[in-house]
């Protein structure tokens, strides 16, 4: 008896390798790793240009462009909420930065700061409306999505007289802002966008927050069973508002990249991306009902999506069928992902 007790003590306090491995394959993202490997192998075999490093850097870029907001969206979904306004919020941020810099400040960094405040405020507003109205976040953020879409178009037209922002590349601070948000590095002879590194950094930070901090514990709890969390003193409202502001921050970051990489922004852009962010988070193991998921998973979900959209082109498949192939590949990756997850969590 005493022997088994001490053995149990050991396993509870210092897990052995076997247990660590068992814990690893029970992680939420394990299925998406399988899906990513499947998609990678498939295109590696089928598409000869996919094998080159230059192609890989394009895949990484596309993954990061979708993946940065997806990381924040994943945290929000773990916290039990949706944000349908995330796609157009990216455009709102770049429009705001561009117009404020051009019309008011004359320096792009002031515009960047203005856009940050605006994006965080939009996130806070989403959270505030959610709490005050008690409606489902799907409805609340659908409303803000439509409002932002309208504001993007109307305010841009009002301020610039056009439906796209002007050229900000001549304003002061442009070069330093571009260096921060959209520079490129040569690594192993391939040109890699700086956002790939930001993406990885955000994933690491988000994972740290989720698994190693008090706030992470709270995020899981408010998404899993909000009332229980509130009953033990978790500040549910603050956590939810904070999560929406996190999405606001990611939207701002992506918006700044778009602005400084593409210089002008069309006010109608971004529509539809919100669903891709959610899809990536789900492919990466987030539950639609909240309380479960991972930031690494969302990143892998982004990688699957990036590989798929690029891989189809590298494979030279009939372009008329492009969207169909994307759908098929996503379905394939998701089904495989679910199957692996079932295998891993069985027993």
């Amino acid at each position: 008896m005493s022997d088994t007790m001490t053995e149990q003590d050991n396993t509870a306090r210092a897990p052995g390798w076997g247990q660590r491995l068992a814990a690893l394959i029970k992680r939420p993202e394990i299925g998406s790793v399988g899906g990513a490997i499947l998609v990678f192998v498939l295109f590696f075999v089928l598409a000869e240009p996919f094998r080159s490093l230059a192609s890989f850097s394009t895949v990484l870029y596309q993954s990061a462009a979708l993946g940065i907001p997806a990381v924040a969206v994943a945290l929000l979904m773990i916290g039990g909420e949706f944000d349908l306004s995330a796609g157009v919020a990216v455009t709102t941020s770049s429009l705001a930065a561009s117009m404020f810099a051009m019309q008011v400040a004359g320096n792009v960094w002031v515009g960047v700061g203005f856009a940050l405040i605006l994006s965080l405020a939009i996130g806070a507003l989403n959270g505030y409306l959610l709490i005050k109205t008690g409606l489902h976040s799907f409805l609340v953020t659908l409303s803000t999505f439509l409002m932002l879409q309208g504001l993007n178009l109307a305010v841009t037209k009002l301020v610039t007289g056009n439906v796209a922002t002007g050229d900000i590349s001549t304003l002061s601070g442009f070069d330093s802002a571009r260096a921060v948000f959209s520079s490129y590095f040569m690594i192993f002879g391939m040109s890699v966008s700086i956002i790939v590194f930001y993406w990885l950094a955000f994933v690491v930070i988000a994972t740290w927050i989720l698994l190693r901090t008090r706030i992470g514990n709270w995020i899981f709890a408010v998404g899993g069973q909000g009332e229980s969390a509130r009953a033990v003193g978790v500040p549910l409202n603050k956590v939810k508002i904070g999560l929406f502001m996190g999405v606001g921050f990611a939207a701002w970051f992506m918006g700044m990249h778009l602005l400084f990489d593409y210089v002008t922004v069309q006010s109608g852009e971004g529509v539809g991306n919100e669903l891709l962010y959610i899809a990536q988070a789900v492919v990466g193991g987030c539950l639609l009902t909240g309380g479960y998921g991972s930031a690494i998973g969302a990143a892998i979900g982004g990688f699957i999506f990036g590989m798929t959209t690029q891989g189809i082109i590298y494979a030279g498949w009939d372009p008329q069928w492009f969207m169909f192939f994307v759908g098929v590949m996503l379905l394939l990756a998701t089904v495989f992902n679910a199957w692996i997850r079932r295998q891993a969590t069985r027993g």
Binding site: A47, P49, S52, A54, S55, T58, Y61, Q62, A65, L66, K132, Q149, N152, L153, T156, K157, G161, N162, V163, A164, D167, S191, L258, D261, Y262, V263, T264, Q266, S267, G268, E269, G270, V271, G272, N273, G306, T309, Q310, I313, Y314, A315, G316, P319, Q320, F322, M323
Partner: protein, 316 residues
């Protein structure tokens, strides 16, 4: 916020909105003629912004009012037309990108005695509807001219970048190139509402097929993204485009873009409203049963200087 104060807030917001709408409505309430321009534009499309400016300029010069509304979906666009018929406008300028869906409302407008003019898209279909005239570019003619011009260069394989799969006019431009160009033509579809994907997919295509030596984008904003993608591919690929904006013009000046085919959207919007006015006030019919063509007109390094000034104003 309590329930009551929320209600009060809502009422205030509704009042403010009503005041705003009232302001917009009062302009249409006087004795001026009112014309409507209903397009299939997606929100935020720069091309349609210029088209609208043309229509507004004409309306202003004529002392008339202009209602502009747009929706990319056929059903919604038809509803918009029905709305302006109900408002009793004096003429409707309508794009025929979904000609069959518009037939019904065009007949209703005709029955109500409201003249309808087609513009921009629907070159092959307008004569079978009850629109009295058509102003636009023939996308096949424009594409064919594009192909002819390509034949004067050393182009062997051109990639046509379509930013809106399913759009008939855009597809016809690519087909027009195919008709006349002696080399090979491939098509790439991209999502026009997501610039990062436009660049990534184009870059992927350039990496995938090394024989591509010319790229033709079908809209001005996508041309600028293509400039970047081509530079990133590190390959000597020449870029050409349909449609214009101020950045495309400066890219032509800097030699980044070989040429742009302009269908002169300002002219389309302007002429459509002028023609409606002439029809309504003087019974004039433009075109003599034939389409009035506003393009193609080529903008190249040779003539770009003259156009640059107008483009800065946002009217070319």
């Amino acid at each position: 916020m309590t329930y009551r104060s929320f209600n009060r807030w809502l009422a205030g917001a509704a009042l403010a909105l009503a005041a705003g709408l009232g302001l917009a409505g009062s302009a249409a309430a006087d004795d001026d003629m009112t014309f409507a321009l209903i397009s299939h534009a997606v929100p935020g499309d720069t091309f349609w912004d210029i088209e609208r400016k043309g229509a507004e300029t004409a309306a202003r010069q004529l002392g008339a009012d202009l209602i502009y509304a747009h929706h990319p979906a056929a059903g919604q666009q038809a509803t918009l037309v029905q709305n302006v018929i109900n408002q009793g406008v004096d003429g409707i300028a309508l794009t025929l990108s979904h000609p069959d869906a518009m037939r019904g409302v065009i007949a209703k407008a005709d029955a109500a005695g409201i003249p309808v003019i087609g513009l921009n898209s629907g070159l092959n279909e307008w004569q079978s509807t009850k629109v009295f005239a058509y102003i636009g570019q023939d996308p096949v003619v424009a594409g064919a001219a594009f192909g002819d011009r390509l034949n004067t260069t050393d182009a062997k394989h051109v990639l046509c970048v379509n930013h809106e799969q399913g759009n008939v006019s855009l597809a016809r431009r690519c087909e027009g190139i195919e008709d006349t160009f002696d080399g090979k033509v491939s098509t790439l579809y991209v999502n026009g509402q997501n610039m990062t994907s436009v660049r990534s997919r184009l870059l992927a295509k350039l990496q995938q097929d090394p024989s591509i030596d010319y790229v033709a984008t079908l809209g001005a904003p996508y041309a600028m993204t293509a400039v970047r993608a081509i530079r990133m591919s590190g390959r000597p690929v020449s870029l050409t485009t349909f449609d214009l904006n101020s950045r495309v013009i400066s890219a032509i000046e800097r030699g980044k873009i070989r040429w742009a085919v302009d269908q002169q959207p300002f002219l389309q919007g302007y002429l459509a409203i002028e023609s409606l006015w002439l029809k309504a006030t003087n019974g004039n019919v433009i075109g003599g049963g034939q389409a009035v063509l506003t393009g193609p007109s080529f903008v190249t390094a040779e003539n770009v200087d003259q156009i640059a000034a107008f483009a800065k104003r946002g009217t070319r």
